[in-house]
Every structure is written in C-alpha cells, then in structure tokens.
Assembly symmetry: C2
C-alpha cells in the first residue's frame, strides 16, 4: 500500500513524547529560548536540549545562536508525510469495515 518511508520512523518517534509535542505547541505561539522552553516543563536545560535536538533532526524545529542564548523556532516540516500515512490508513480501515458490512448483509440474505 505505502512504500517504506524511513523519515516516518523518526517523525512519529519525535511526536511520541509529551515534552516534544509541548515544545512544538509552545513554539506555535512564537520563538523561544531554550531557557524559556524549559520553564513550563520544570526540566533541566540539558534534558530539554536533547528533546530540541531530536526535533531539529526531523526539521520540526530550527535553532540559532543569539548572543549567549539559543533561540528556537518552528522548522520547515509540515508533517504532510505523517498526515498522509494516517489518512491512507483510515481509508483502508473504512474499506475493510465496508467489506465486512457487505459480507454480513450477504450472509443475512442467504439465511433468509
């Protein structure tokens, strides 16, 4: 159905953590430094940096050094691939359920 997309492993992996989803949601309101991002999570800067690096690797976040701080922003990835995979899956599931429904109807018909 869908060919193997290695990028999807890393994308879904990046989204599988509440801190990382939280970082993306926070950056949706505007750029923020690592220190600002760490605050609501009550997390060490080192811990938060690791999460930011994972998001940088999949281009969901970009960072730049501004003086002594590192400023983070949303990256260029728009998650089309992840969205497309889920959409295709849902269509496939619907088709399965439809076929199953038809089968049930036919079985009922035969029993009459």
């Amino acid at each position: 159905m869908v060919q193997y997309q290695p990028a999807l492993d890393r994308t879904f992996g990046a989204l599988a953590d509440p801190t990382r989803r939280g970082i993306l949601e926070q950056l949706g309101h505007g750029t923020a430094t690592i220190t600002e991002l760490a605050e609501p999570f009550q997390m060490s800067l080192t811990g938060l940096k690791k999460h930011v690096r994972i998001l940088e690797d999949v281009e969901l976040v970009t960072t730049e050094k501004v003086g002594r701080a590192r400023r983070c922003n949303l990256g260029p990835r728009r998650l089309e691939d992840a969205q497309q995979w889920i959409e295709t899956y849902r269509q496939m599931l619907e088709a399965r359920l439809d076929r199953f429904g038809e089968l049930l109807e036919r079985t009922k018909g035969e029993q009459r």
Copy 2:
C-alpha cells in the same frame, strides 16, 4: 493549545516503526496469522509477536486464537487523535507563517 494526551505517546510510538506500519498495511488487505505476517519481514515469530503486542496495546490490532494459530485483524482505533493533533499543529504553523508574512509586508511598507 492541546492538552496532554498520554494515549498519543503510545500511538505515535507504535507508528514509529516500519515493521509495525507494515503489519497494519498488510492487515488492511485482510486478517492474517502471526506466521503469515512474519513472512514478508523475514523476522522470527518471537520478534513479530512483540510488534503485534505493541499494536494490540494501542488497539490498532486485535488477535484471537484459532486452533493453534493466532489470527490478527485491524483493531477499533481509527487514529482520530493522532490525525487531530497533526491537523491542529499544521493550522498553527500556517498561522505562524501568515503572521510572519504580514510582518514582512509591514516592514517593507515602512521602508518605502
């Protein structure tokens, strides 16, 4: 923006593996036993069972014992939550890009 949804950690985690996405795609064509599922992946039954269990935990797959085999099928989860999260994220990203575009236009206007 979005409240913390623990189920999303496990859902995205389950989708972050090519074998598990492959299993779902294969089950989209119809039910299959563990042995049938293992074939295209050239994987041990033990290895494949672990993946199936992870998919069962998030209700993407159901299994039932039929004689000596275990028959797998697509589960009741329709991935609405994952799809919704990604959709909300994309809308937020678009809004950010729009605001950035407006800012650029305004800056240009001021420079004229």
